[in-house]
Point group: C2
Chain length 642, copies 2
C-alpha cells in the first residue's frame, strides 16, 4: 500500500525567475555547464586535469592512450549530463542539446556489448570487473548514469541515454543477487540504489526496484562481503595502496534497518539513507523508517554543523561521533550537503513535515551554495566554519581545507553535483499530494501541478515578504513555516488570517481562483547558540538571518578575527553589502570590541585590553569571494558578569 | 680560544635531597629503572612489546629469532644505561651496577669485529649498513650508546662501555667524511653529534670533535645527501613504506649556520641545536652562534607552548610555523622538551644568561615531568594542553593524544629519556665558571665545585623560600632570578641586601665561609596571557604559580570544562590538594562561573546562562593521575564590558 507522500513536480512545470536563484541558474546554463564541459575536456588553463572525455574516447576505441583520473572519473560526465538535462527541461537550448546528444553517443560507444560501461575497467582491467566492489565504484558510476539518463529522458523525451542505462541495468541485474552464480555484493559507494528507483519510476520495470531493494537489504549481512572481498588476491591487485576500511566507513557494519547512528563516509551515508527512504516509502517498510528517523535525528541533533555541513574529518571524509564538530578541521563536503538535501526531501515527502525542509534549506543556502564562487567557475569541496589561512599553509591537519575556491579538483565530484542540484531546484522547491500543493523553498517564479497553479513573488532569502497568486480550484496550500524565519503575518486577498499550522506548514484551504496570499517572515538577525557539548563553541554565537548563516571575514574586519567580542546586547543592524558582493546582499553590522595586546610577547602577564570596534558580517555562502583571508562563523560573545 | 662558559658540575658532587625531587629520583632508582629493565625484557604484563634485550641477544648469537621493534630499538637500552649510570653516580648500588655490567657485556657481545653495533641491521640486513641514513638510525643509536658509555665511565670508572663506544666511534670515523672512499652523509636523526662531543671531552680524542663538526657542517650542503640517497634502489628496499621527506623534516634544507627558523622533527631539531652549541662554544664559531640565537628566539617567541612543549603536529612530530600552537592536536613530545632543556643548558652555558634557565625550568616542571605518572611506571609521549577524551576516541586527528599515561610504547623513547634527565638533574641544576657558582634550578641538597660548597634548603617549586649555606672562599654566587617567580627579598646572614642583577642572575660576591643567603620568590598565582597571534587562546588565561603551569581537570570540576569562565578580578587562592595527589602539592581555587545551557538542543536561540561556580586547578604536570578525564590549561576569562 503506497503511503500518502509528497511527490515532486515535473521540472518543466516549475519556473524560477527571482534574481537570487535566476542568477545562479542562468550562470550555470550559459556559463558553468560550458566551463565544466571544457574542464572535462582538459581545456581550462591552470585547472586540475580531468581526462574524463578522453577516457570515454579511449574506451570507445576512438582514441589511443591510457585511462587517467579517479576510478570514478566517469561520474563527472554523468553529473554534467544531469545538469544539462535539468537545464534543458527549464530552458530549451538546441545547441546545448546537440552537445549532450554527442556526449550520450560517446557514452553509448563506450558501452560494451553486454551493456557494461566503465572506462576505468574497460581501458585498464577489462577482466577485473566487479572484483573490488568496495573501491571500484562501478556501481556508483552506473547510478549517476541512470540518474542522468532519466533526467535527460524527462527533459527531452529522447531515449538514447535511457536505453543505454536500461541495457546496463539489465546487465547488472544478471550479475548481482542472491541466486546461484550471482555475486552477493553491493556497492562500496552507495548511489545506484536511489538511481534504480528513478529508473524504476521512469520505466515501470519492477526488476529495478527489486535490484535496488536487494542492494539495500544485502548490506551489513554476515559474512560481510567487503571482508571476504579483502581476502581475495585480485582485490588488491588493482589498488595495492589500499588498506582495510572499517565496516562503518561503508555503512556495512549493520543491516540498514538496524542502523541508528550516522557513521562512515558522509556522502555514502546520506545517499544510502535516500535509497532507504525510497524503499521505505515504496514498501511501507516500518523497520527502515524507524532507522531513518533515528539516523536523521542523530545527524541533525548531534553531527551537523549549523551551516548544514556534515562530515567532521578529512580522514575517511566521514562522520566521527556525537558533538565532534571542529570548525576548522571539518570536512563538510559540498556533495555531502547535496546528499543531505536529497535525504531531507525524501523524509519530507514521507512525513509531510516541514522541519525536514528547514534542514534542506539550511544545507542549500549555506554549505551547498558556498561550494561555488560568485563567478560560478571556482569551487569548494571542503566547507570550513573557521579559516586562518596562515595555519592552513603550515599545518597538515588543515591541508584539506582550501582558503579560496579552486578551478577544478583531482576528485571533481562537487562542482557537477552542485550544478545539478541548482538546476534541479524546482524538484526541491515544490511538491504535491492528492490534497494540495507544497511550497518548501521560497523562490520567485511559478509552479503548476495539473490545474493547480501558483505564482510567487519574493526576494527571499533577503526580503521578508512573499506573495502567492493561487488558482486551480479547491485544494490545500502548504507553506513551510521556516524555523529560522517564522512567518509573522499572513493575509489572503488583503485580509489578515490566522491559519492552521500542521507539521510546520501553514495550511490554507479554499477554492483558489487567483487569490493572493501574502506572508511576512521574521527576518530579524538572530544570535544562535550551540550546545555545551560542542565545547569550542561555548561562549560564542552564530548570527543568522532567515536561513542564512553569517560570517566575519578579514577583508571587512581586519586580521585576527578571534580578537573580536560581540556584546550580548549589541544591536545587529542591516547594511548595504561591502564592495565585491552583489548589491542585493544584506550584510550586518554590530558594535563590538577587540582585544588589543598590551605587549608583543608570546606569553605575558600584561592583560590584553578590550577596545571598541565594529563588526561586519556577510552571508557565509559568499565568503572567500574577495581573495584569501580569515573567516569565522562563530563570534565570541562579551558577557556581563552576572 | 675557549669562551668563558658555564660547565656542569660532576654528578657525584651534587646531592639532591628535597622531597620534590628526591621522591622522583628515589622512585626511578628503586623502581622505575627495574620496571624499564623488565619492559626491555618483555616481562611487564599488558605493556607494548619491546624485544630490545632479545634483539641484542640475537645479534650476539645467544638466541635464535628475528629482530622486532623500531629500527632504533637499541637506543632504549642505551638510555636506560645512561639513567643507571646517573643513579650509580649519586647512589652506589652494587646489584644495579652488576645488572648494568651484564647489559654492557651483552652490548659488547653484539658488537661486530669492526666495531659496528646495531641489532636491527646485524640481525636483518647485515649487508645493508649505512644505505639509509635518513631512516636507518644507526648513527642515532650510536650516539645514545656513546652518551651512556661516558656517563657510566664517569659514574663507575669502568671502561668496558667506554671501550665499546670508542671502538664504534673509531669505526664510524673510517666510514664518514669528505675523504675519498668515505660516505659524505650525516644522520637522519641527529644525536651522535652531541654524543661525540661528550666522547671527545671524556677521552680527549680530537678525532671525535672533528667527526662531530663534520656531521654538523655537512648537513644542508648541496647536493642534498638524502635526496641522492632516495634515488638509490637499496634505499627503499628495507623501508618500502617510506615516502620522501621534506628537507626541513631533517633540518637538511639549509646549512646549520644559515638556519633561523626551527623546522621539522622537533627532537631532531633540538638535538642538532645542542651539538651546534657544543661546536660554537668549542670553536668560538660566531656564525653558528648567530643561528642558535635566532633559532632559540624563534622557538621561544613563536613556536613553544607555555608548558615548554614543542612540536605542534603529529604528522612528522614537528614544528609547523609561527603561532601554530593547537592545544588539543599538539604533539609536544616529552623527548622534545628534554631536548629543549639540553639546548637551554648549552645556551645558558655560553651566554651566562638566566633566561635560558627559565625556559629549561618551564620545560622540566611542566612537559617533562608530565611525561610520568606519580607511580613512575606510566608515561606520556604526547603532552596536550586540552583534552576531551570523547573527541580523542572518535576523531583520528586526535588519535595520537592519549588521555591517560601508557605502560610502554611501540616507540618507547620517552620513558628512558625522562628517567635519564631526572637522574641527571644535577647537571642542569648547577654550573660553575672560574669566577663563581651558578644555581639554575632550586632543589634542596648540596653542590660542590672544588672548595666551593653550597647547601640548599627549599621546598621549591611549592614554597616561596630558599636558603643557601655557602662556603669555600671568595667567589661569586649566581642565583637565577626566575622570570615567573622573581626573587622579592634577599638576606645574607639575616641582613637584607640589594644585590646586583646580571643577565637575570642575582649576583652575590664575598669571601664565603658558611654564610647564609635566604631568598623569597614571588609565588603568587599569576594569570598569563598569550599573544593574539595564537587566536584560539585569545580571551583565555593560563594560570601559573612559580614555574608551574596549572590546569583544570574534570575530576575536580565536573565535565564540560569549556563552560567555565574565570572573572578577571576573581582572587585565586591556594588550597590543599584534592585526594589522589601528594599532600605537599599546592592546588588553587577561584570563584568562577559556568555556562548552563537553557535548552537541550544542538542549536538554539536560547542563550546559555552563567551560573556561579568554583574552579579548582592543579599543577599541569600532575594531570591524568586520577583516571581518564577532561583537562585544559587555558581557562576562558569573563570580562566586564568596558
Amino acid at each position: 500500500m503506497e503511503r500518502n507522500k509528497i511527490r515532486p513536480l515535473r521540472l518543466k512545470d516549475v519556473v524560477i525567475t527571482g534574481s537570487f536563484w535566476n542568477r545562479y541558474m542562468e550562470q550555470i546554463r550559459t556559463h558553468v555547464i560550458q566551463y565544466q564541459w571544457e574542464a572535462l575536456n582538459d581545456r581550462v588553463e591552470d585547472a586540475k586535469r580531468s581526462h574524463c572525455i578522453k577516457n570515454f574516447e579511449i574506451a570507445a576505441g576512438k582514441r589511443q592512450g591510457d585511462f587517467y583520473g579517479m576510478v570514478f572519473q566517469d561520474s563527472d560526465l554523468y553529473k554534467w549530463l544531469e545538469s544539462v538535462a535539468y537545464s534543458l527541461a527549464i530552458h530549451p537550448d538546441p545547441a546545448l542539446e546537440a552537445l549532450a546528444d554527442e556526449a550520450i553517443a560517446l557514452i553509448g560507444a563506450a558501452q560494451q556489448p553486454d551493456g557494461y560501461i566503465n572506462t576505468y575497467y574497460t581501458v585498464k582491467y577489462p577482466e577485473r570487473r566487479w572484483t573490488n566492489l568496495q573501491h571500484g565504484h562501478e556501481l556508483y558510476c552506473a547510478g549517476h548514469l541512470f540518474e542522468a539518463a532519466v533526467a535527460y529522458y524527462d527533459a527531452t523525451g529522447k531515449r538514447a541515454a535511457l536505453d543505454i542505462a536500461i541495457r546496463f541495468a539489465d546487465y547488472i541485474d544478471t550479475v548481482f543477487g542472491l541466486e546461484a552464480g550471482k555475486l552477493d555484493g553491493y556497492p562500496g559507494h552507495q548511489e545506484i540504489e536511489l538511481a534504480l528507483f528513478k529508473l524504476y519510476e521512469t520505466t515501470g520495470e519492477r526488476r529495478y526496484l527489486l535490484l535496488a531493494a536487494y542492494f539495500i537489504k544485502q548490506r551489513g549481512r554476515e559474512p560481510n562481503y567487503f571482508d571476504l572481498e579483502w581476502e581475495k588476491p585480485e582485490y588488491r591487485e588493482i589498488f595495492p595502496e589500499i588498506t582495510p576500511l572499517a565496516r562503518t566507513y561503508s555503512q556495512s557494519h549493520l543491516l540498514p534497518e538496524e542502523q541508528r547512528v550516522a557513521t562512515g563516509h558522509a556522502v555514502r551515508a546520506v545517499y544510502m539513507y535516500c535509497a532507504m527512504a525510497d524503499l521505505a516509502a515504496e514498501m511501507d517498510d516500518a523497520a527502515l523508517l524507524k532507522a531513518l528517523d533515528a539516523l536523521y535525528t542523530d545527524i541533525t541533533t548531534k553531527q551537523m554543523y549549523i551551516t548544514g555541513a556534515i562530515g567532521s574529518v578529512a580522514w575517511g571524509e566521514r562522520f566521527t561521533g556525537a558533538y565532534d564538530l571542529p570548525n576548522d578541521q571539518i570536512y563538510g563536503e559540498t556533495c555531502a550537503s547535496v546528499g543531505l538535501m536529497m535525504f531531507c526531501r525524501r523524509m519530507n515527502a514521507m512525513h509531510l513535515d516541514a522541519r525536514y525542509g528547514d534542514t534542506m534549506e539550511l544545507a542549500l543556502y549555506n554549505t551547498v551554495l558556498a561550494g561555488t564562487s560568485l563567478a560560478g567557475t571556482e569551487f569548494f569541496y571542503v566547507n570550513p566554519l573557521h579559516v586562518e589561512p596562515e595555519r592552513i599553509h603550515v599545518n597538515p591537519n588543515l591541508s584539506h581545507v582550501k582558503p579560496v575556491r579552486q578551478k577544478w579538483f583531482d576528485c571533481a565530484c562537487c562542482p557537477s553535483n552542485l550544478a545539478r542540484t541548482v538546476m534541479g531546484l524546482g524538484l526541491y522547491a515544490y511538491g504535491a499530494t492528492t490534497d494540495g500543493l507544497y511550497v518548501n523553498l521560497y523562490c520567485a517564479g511559478s509552479a503548476r501541478d495539473g490545474a493547480r497553479h501558483i505564482e510567487v513573488q519574493t526576494d527571499y532569502p533577503y526580503s521578508s515578504d512573499a506573495t502567492f497568486k493561487v488558482s486551480g480550484g479547491f485544494f490545500r496550500l502548504y507553506l513551510r513555516n521556516p524555523q529560522y524565519a517564522p512567518v509573522e503575518r499572513i493575509t489572503v486577498n488583503g485580509e489578515v488570517v490566522q491559519p492552521q499550522i500542521e507539521n510546520g506548514y501553514i495550511v490554507l484551504e479554499r477554492d483558489w481562483s487567483g487569490d493572493v496570499v501574502a506572508i511576512q517572515f521574521d527576518m530579524r538577525p538572530k544570535r544562535m547558540y550551540c550546545t555545551n557539548e560542542v565545547q569550542h563553541n561555548i561562549g560564542s554565537t552564530a548570527i543568522m538571518r532567515g536561513p542564512l548563516v553569517y560570517c566575519m571575514e578579514q577583508v571587512d574586519n581586519g586580521p585576527c578575527l578571534g580578537a573580536f567580542r560581540l556584546p550580548d546586547d549589541a544591536p545587529i543592524t542591516e547594511i548595504t553589502p561591502p564592495d565585491g558582493l552583489l548589491p542585493e546582499v544584506v550584510a550586518l553590522t554590530a558594535p563590538a570590541y577587540q582585544y588589543k595586546q598590551a605587549e608583543d610577547a608570546l606569553y605575558t602577564e600584561q592583560k590584553p585590553m578590550l577596545a571598541p570596534s565594529q563588526l561586519t558580517l556577510i552571508p557565509y555562502f559568499l565568503w572567500a569571494n574577495r581573495g584569501e583571508n580569515e573567516m569565522r562563523v562563530y563570534v565570541p560573545t562579551l558577557e556581563q558578569t552576572p
